[in-house]
Subunit: 268 residues, 2 copies
Amino acid sequence: MIFTEKLDQAMARNHSRLCLGLDPDPRLMPAGRDIYEFNRAIIEATADLVCAYKPNLAFYEACGATGMVALQQTMAAIPRHIPVIADGKRGDIGNTAAAYARALFETLGYDAATVNPYMGFDSVEPFLKYQDRGVFILCRTSNAGAADFQSLSCQTDDGHFIPLFEMVARKAREWNKAGNVGLVVGATYPDELKKLRQNFPELPFLIPGVGAQGGEVELAVRFGSGPRGRAIINSSRQVLYASREDNFAAAAREAALKLRDQINQYLA
Amino acid sequence: MIFTEKLDQAMARNHSRLCLGLDPDPRLMPAGRDIYEFNRAIIEATADLVCAYKPNLAFYEACGATGMVALQQTMAAIPRHIPVIADGKRGDIGNTAAAYARALFETLGYDAATVNPYMGFDSVEPFLKYQDRGVFILCRTSNAGAADFQSLSCQTDDGHFIPLFEMVARKAREWNKAGNVGLVVGATYPDELKKLRQNFPELPFLIPGVGAQGGEVELAVRFGSGPRGRAIINSSRQVLYASREDNFAAAAREAALKLRDQINQYLA
C-alpha cells in the first residue's frame, strides 16, 4: 500500500488528523521510566486517536546506541495500520542520501520521512525512489529562525521574485512524479500556510507548531486542509508531557482526544 | 582546547590538510570485515597522515543499532589528538537541534559537526553554544543538485542580489561570535570556492568533492586555502576503497599518503 492510502485509511479509521510526535525527552518524562516504556504507554493510550506517529530521531540519537534500540522497539509497538513518519530532516549527496533512505525505509521500516531540500534534487531523489513511502520536504518551517533564509526573495527563471520556500514548493511539485511528495509547513506562519495551500492543493502538508510552539489550531486546520483533507497536524510536547505523574499515559490520552476533536471541529 | 587549535596542531603534527571520511559501505568493503574492524584497520594505517577524520553518520545509521555501536567503537579507536568531524548535516527547531548537539558533542564526543542552514539561526545556535567545538555550515555543497537552491539569486537587505550560498556565508560570519564556525564548500565548484575564500578569508573551509566526485585537488588547495591554511580537504572513497583485498589497509595508507603529499605540493 502506498503512503497516502495508508494515511487516508488511518485518518478515516481514527477520525483524526492528529499526528503525535514521539519525542522522548528524559528531562520532561515521568521519573523512572525508560524511553521504550514511556513510548509504549503513550502509544497504547493514543493509537485509536492519531493518523500518524512521528518520532524525531534527534531524541533517540541523543541517547546513543541505547536510544537506537529504544527506537526500534518503539516502531515494533506501533500498530501496523498507523503510518510512522521518521522526522530526521536528512539531506546529503547522492550515495549518502541513499544510505539514509535505506536506513529509514528499509532498516527501520518507516512509512515516510522528512528531508531537507538545501542540497537539491540528487539529495532528495534517493528517498523519492521509494515510491510507496512519503517524502515530506521542509518548506516553511515552524521556528523563529525560518525567516533567515526561507523568506529570502529569490529570482525565478522568468524573472519574477518569490520567497525561497515557494521555490522549494515548486521544485517539490516538479519532483512529485510518483505522488509521494509532501511539504512541511509550520502552523506558526498562518499566512504562508494559507498561500501555500492555495498554490499547492494536491500536496499533503505536515504541519508542526501547534501547542508548545504557539501555532493556533484553528488556523492550521482552516488554512492547511487541502481538498483531499491531507493536513497532518503534529503535536508533541503538549500531548506527551500533559502530566509527569504516574497518570501520564491517561493524561496524554486526554490531551490527544481534546486536540483531535478540536481539529475535527474546525474541519467541519 | 578549542577546535581550531586542535585542528591546527593535527595539521602541523601530521603535515597534512587531508581529512579522511570514514564512510563504511558494506558493498565496497573487503568481504568478511565488520564495520568496526574495517575502520580500526583504516585508522591504524592513516592516523599519522590526516588532520581529521569525518565519519558520515548515514553509513552507520544504515546499519541500525549495530551501526551506532560500531560508530562508538570507531570513535574510541581514533587517537585523541586527531579531531573528529561528525558529518550529519543536522538542522531542526531549537529544542531538537539541542538534542542533536548533545548527541554529537556530549554523548558521542565529536570535535565538530556539519549542520544544514535551511532552518536558520535557532537551528544552528544550539551547536554554536559549544564554543570549543567546530560547526561547519553547509554553504556550497559538492553535489550536482546543489545549484537547485544554493545558486538562486537572492535579494539582500540593501537591495543587491547574491547567490543563496553567499547569503549563508554572510550569516555564518555573523554567527561566528566564538570563532567556531566554518563552511562546507565543495571542490567541484572551484570558481565559487575561490570567490568564497576571497570574501571569507577567516573561516575554516571543509572541502569535500575531490577524487570520486571529480573535484581537482590542485584547485581545491589553491583556491580553498585561506591565510591561516585552514582548508580541510576531504576524501572518502578514493582512500577507503583503494583495494578490496586483504591489503586494503596498506592500500588506503598508500592512497592517503599520495593525496596528502599532492595537497602539500600545491600548498607550497
